[in-house]
Symmetry: C2
Subunit: 146 residues, 2 copies
DNA sequence: TTAGCAGTTTACGTAAACGTAAAGCAGAGG
DNA sequence: CCTCTGCTTTACGTTTACGTAAACTGCTAA
């Protein structure tokens, strides 16, 4: 009787996602995703009582996680989201404020790049010291066994 | 009677610091500094009951704060400190483990650099959109006043 | 029909990183 | 001598970002 399947959630082109799909893809718990929704960072639709996430939600989740890796709080990320959204509807004053925020973020990124470079240099230095200490130790072992 | 001042803590070459000096210099609260000590990240000497911080402590505080800007937890920073310290005394096994950790950090930094680049591109894009929206608005205002 | 997931809400628990209030000691200046 | 200022400890409070448990719903496979 091959009836057409009852309109599965997962369409072939994947414009929609279940909570566990996203959880698996990005390696976060469903709890976290729900929490992000509660905090106003994601706005999934509902089918019955189940959440359905759009590709926009997916993109946002990706941004949230990137923000976390960069040390941003959820509040900061939410602030960015809200600014982005206001870009479409905002007044001139709003837009100017947004540009200011963008500049501040840029400065922050510059600082972070600096921090990363310093950190890399230190890693280099300590790696060298480590290597030296290692060859030293091995040298001594060599001598001890002769 | 010009006696020599009673051995002031602050020598001219500044190898020692009080808690509030460091707090001011790095714009953190004294509470935070004490907390870092409690967590084993700083090890100030004592003069009576007052803390005296060495320039090593100062350097470490700088590293702690940099770590925070990069999104590191205090535990992660402490782990690094401990590894650095072990470099001097560690066994071969210890040193190899340290090298592993260094590699992991490097990978993390690479990821962060990537994240930052992406973020910068997005800031560029949104800034452009903002600028467009602004000229649009101003255009309309121009028309409205003619 | 029953069992078993996957999902839901509600709510209390927890770890990290401090904030903040209380209460006390110590030296310097008036 | 008294007070002020800075430092100290002790300890409870707070925010963020979830973890975890309980109890319920709805679909699907056996």
């Amino acid at each position: 009787m091959e009836r057409p399947r009852p309109a599965k959630i997962t369409m072939s082109d994947k414009k929609q996602y279940t909570i566990s799909e996203l959880a698996k893809e990005f390696d976060v718990t469903t709890r976290s995703i729900r929490f992000y929704e509660d905090e106003g960072l994601l706005h999934p639709m509902r089918q019955g009582q189940s959440r359905i996430f759009s590709s926009k939600d997916r993109a946002r989740l990706k941004l949230i996680l990137r923000g976390k890796r960069m040390g941003f709080s959820l509040a900061e990320t939410r602030e960015l989201f809200e600014l982005w959204d206001e870009t479409l509807t905002g007044s001139e004053k709003q837009l100017l404020k947004t540009l200011e925020v963008v500049e501040r973020r840029r400065a922050q990124l510059a600082q972070q790049k600096n921090d990363i470079e310093m950190m890399e240099m230190e890693l280099d230095a300590h790696e060298s010291r480590c290597q030296e200490a290692l060859t030293d130790i091995r040298h001594k072992q060599q001598k001890a066994t002769t």
